[in-house]
């Protein structure tokens, strides 16, 4: 370390380079690259050059956008050392209630959005309060919340309910200039969470609380507020995903959240991106990479058209493998 200082200008660059490599998300991009390379080779060999059909690509893409949005919220929750298993049902709540309220009436679009955002904020607040004030294990608290939402949802709606107006579907199908609106939506959420985590005091405090609640407390940080904030943010991203899915399929149905398995998949994406379940480390880029890995997997398996079910097997293996590598690296560093 000390001899480097005499070579300051040059070593600064070396240090920066090393820092990028050391940053948590670096390995995931390497993994991503390798997977993509392998996948594209396999795809082109198997299909003799034929690309994925537009329909299939679109369906995979839309799933990735929905997953990506909620995974950003899940990132915040995991960073503070908590977990949210209730997002699947909250996504359904958001989709069904918004389309039921809008009921094909363009004038009620704003109302529908505001109401479900308010529900989301309440759900996040309830999760956060139960975890911090009643000291219920976050796993149980949010699992309980998912049961509660599931019951309410299934008692209220048996099938597609209402419909979103055509204008609202702009969210899923529109173009802003040359760019598909869903990408702007996802990009907006990613940017917002990125700014939150990297630049705001709240974001800094989230890392602190997840890293060590004791250290955070001794530094005068009100850890309960931070944990609650993370849960509210996560719930709001779930609501946005629900709105996006409603826009896509025109009408919300109670099963779209749980069928998409968004709770576990979003946690998987975040964990794939190098954010630790124990909290305190990770970030949006890793999560985005995690979502993209799952996306690449889906596309390549779909285009192979051999056994779409095998992609679940591959997912399982990759998730376990990635986390095994992360823990190995961290343990090695700590030694």
């Amino acid at each position: 370390m000390t001899d480097l200082t005499s070579l300051r200008p040059k070593t600064r660059l070396v240090l920066i380079g090393r820092k990028i490599l050391r940053a948590g998300s670096a390995p995931i991009f390497v993994v991503l690259g390798v997977i993509y390379l392998l996948a594209s080779i396999v795809v082109s060999v198997a299909n003799e050059g034929t690309l994925l059909s537009i329909d299939a690509l679109e369906s995979v893409l839309s799933r990735s956008v929905g997953l990506g949005i909620v995974a950003m919220g899940q990132t915040c929750v995991l960073i503070v050392g908590s977990i949210d298993l209730s997002v699947s049902y909250l996504i359904s709540v958001s989709a069904t209630y918004s389309s039921a309220i809008m009921n094909d009436d363009p004038n009620k679009m704003a109302l529908g959005v505001v109401v479900v955002l308010a529900i989301g904020a309440l759900v996040g607040l309830a999760n956060g309060l139960v975890i911090t004030k009643l000291r219920v294990n976050p796993f149980v608290a949010t699992l309980g919340m998912s049961f509660i939402l599931s019951g309410v949802l299934n008692a209220s709606f048996q099938d597609y309910s209402g419909a979103v107006p055509d204008q609202f579907q702009y969210l899923a199908y529109g173009y802003f200039g040359p760019i598909l609106v869903p990408f702007i939506l996802l990009g907006g959420v990613v940017a917002a969470v990125w700014i939150l985590l990297r630049y705001t005091t709240m974001g800094h405090h989230m890392y602190a609380v997840g890293g060590s609640e004791e250290v955070a407390r001794l530094s005068g940080i009100k850890s309960h507020r931070v944990i609650i904030a993370a849960h509210v943010i996560c719930a709001l991203t779930a609501v946005v995903t629900g709105l996006y899915l409603a826009a896509r399929i025109k009408s919300g149905a109670p099963w779209i959240g749980p069928d998409g398995n968004y709770s576990l998949e979003s946690i998987a994406a975040v964990v794939l991106g190098g954010t630790a379940l124990s909290g305190g480390r990770g970030g949006v880029w890793g999560t985005l990479a995690g979502v993209m890995i799952l996306f690449v997997l889906d596309t390549s398996f779909n285009s192979l058209q051999v056994d779409e079910f095998l992609q679940n097997v591959a997912r399982g293996v990759i998730i376990i493998g990635a986390v095994a590598v992360y823990t190995y690296r961290i343990n090695k560093r700590r030694r």
Partner: protein
């Protein structure tokens, strides 16, 4: 010293104290895990609404979940999660149907294959958690995806074959002419036998005592000479085997489909948790976990009797799960 000095232990009475009957009864109620009272209250509520209700059906239909919860409890007490049990149930039901394809003579062989499968899944889970140091949430989530994918891959999304009668009898049939009850469903017998076995394993055997030690403080357990990795791995094996048994029961009365086990992992964890098990490890009892599983079934029955939409069961369940854990953590903080 302002504190009262406790007596040497050999002078302290260790049996039940000589307090009055009323005080003793109150003490018993207080020390009973609340889950038994909740279950009793639910059964009484059902009885008050529908005195002729077939209470045996609650136990019959709740047996699979109760067994699963008791198995999951082993992993929870050891300080880990097992999210793979629901998908393992699906594997057991669909693969048994595929292999047996209605042939009754194959049943013993099918059982043997499923038990081996359970052992393999448990050992792999344990290996990933204890040797690769992957958090069990992630490890068993991965295993869940692998098992679901494998089932769908092998069956192509629709299960083939069917289960022979001598396979289905465990979950479906009953012993007739049973004293008092008239008929005794086989699944209750299975629940009773499995429950006793699991109780002995967790709360009586050296293996079970090691699980509590590992979940309570793995460092202290290690320094007391306990093989922490091996103990955890065996806990995963017990959990997987209980999923095999639950799968055999569910195959009997729920039939064969690729989503028969969906959501059972969370149901099982909830049942164990409302039975007082701590997700941080080291606490929980088999009887309470079984009661937790039966409570969920009783809840379903009660809402049915009351004429509420059955979907609300989930909501009430959610409230009970959160409430039970909040109560537990409150009690733990104020214990003496």
């Amino acid at each position: 010293m302002t504190l009262e000095t406790p007596a040497p232990i050999d002078r302290v009475s260790m049996g039940p104290s000589e307090a009055s009957l009323g005080v003793r009864a109150l003490r018993t109620v207080r020390s009973t895990p609340p889950i038994f009272l909740i279950l009793l209250a639910l059964l009484l509520a059902i009885y008050s609404q529908a005195p002729t209700y077939n209470f045996v059906s609650i136990f019959k239909n709740g047996a699979a979940l109760a067994i699963l919860a008791a198995g999951e409890l082993f992993v929870i007490v050891s300080g880990e999660f097992d999210l793979s049990v629901g998908s393992l149930i699906t594997v057991v039901v669909t693969m048994s149907a595929t292999i047996a394809n209605g042939d009754p003579s194959s049943t013993p062989m099918v059982f043997a294959v499923m038990i081996v499968l359970g052992v393999v899944v448990g050992v792999v889970n344990g290996f990933i958690v204890t040797r690769l140091h992957v958090p069990s949430f992630v490890a068993t989530l991965g295993m869940m995806l692998i098992l679901v994918g494998a089932v769908n891959y092998i069956t192509g999304g629709t299960p083939l074959g069917n289960l022979p009668a001598n396979f289905r009898m465990f979950g479906r049939d009953a012993i007739n002419n049973f004293p008092v009850l008239g008929t005794l469903p086989n699944s209750i017998v299975v629940l009773f036998v499995t429950g006793l076995l699991l109780y002995w394993l967790l709360q009586r055997s050296n293996f079970g005592k090691r699980i509590y030690a590992v979940g309570g403080n793995s460092r202290a357990a290690d320094l007391a000479g306990i093989d922490v990795a091996g103990t955890k791995t065996l806990a995963f094996v017990v959990s997987a085997l209980s999923a095999v048994v639950a799968g055999i029961l569910l195959g009997g009365y729920a039939g064969v489909s690729v989503n028969v086990g969906n959501g059972y992992e969370f149901q099982a964890i909830s049942a164990a948790v409302i039975g007082g098990a701590a997700l941080t490890g080291g606490r929980g009892t088999v009887a309470a976990a079984i009661a937790g599983g039966l409570t969920m079934q009783a809840l379903f029955a009660l809402l049915n009797v009351l004429g509420y939409p059955p979907e609300l069961r989930d909501t009430v369940e959610g409230v009970i799960v959160i409430g039970a854990v909040a109560y537990g953590s409150y009690q733990l903080r104020n214990a003496k």
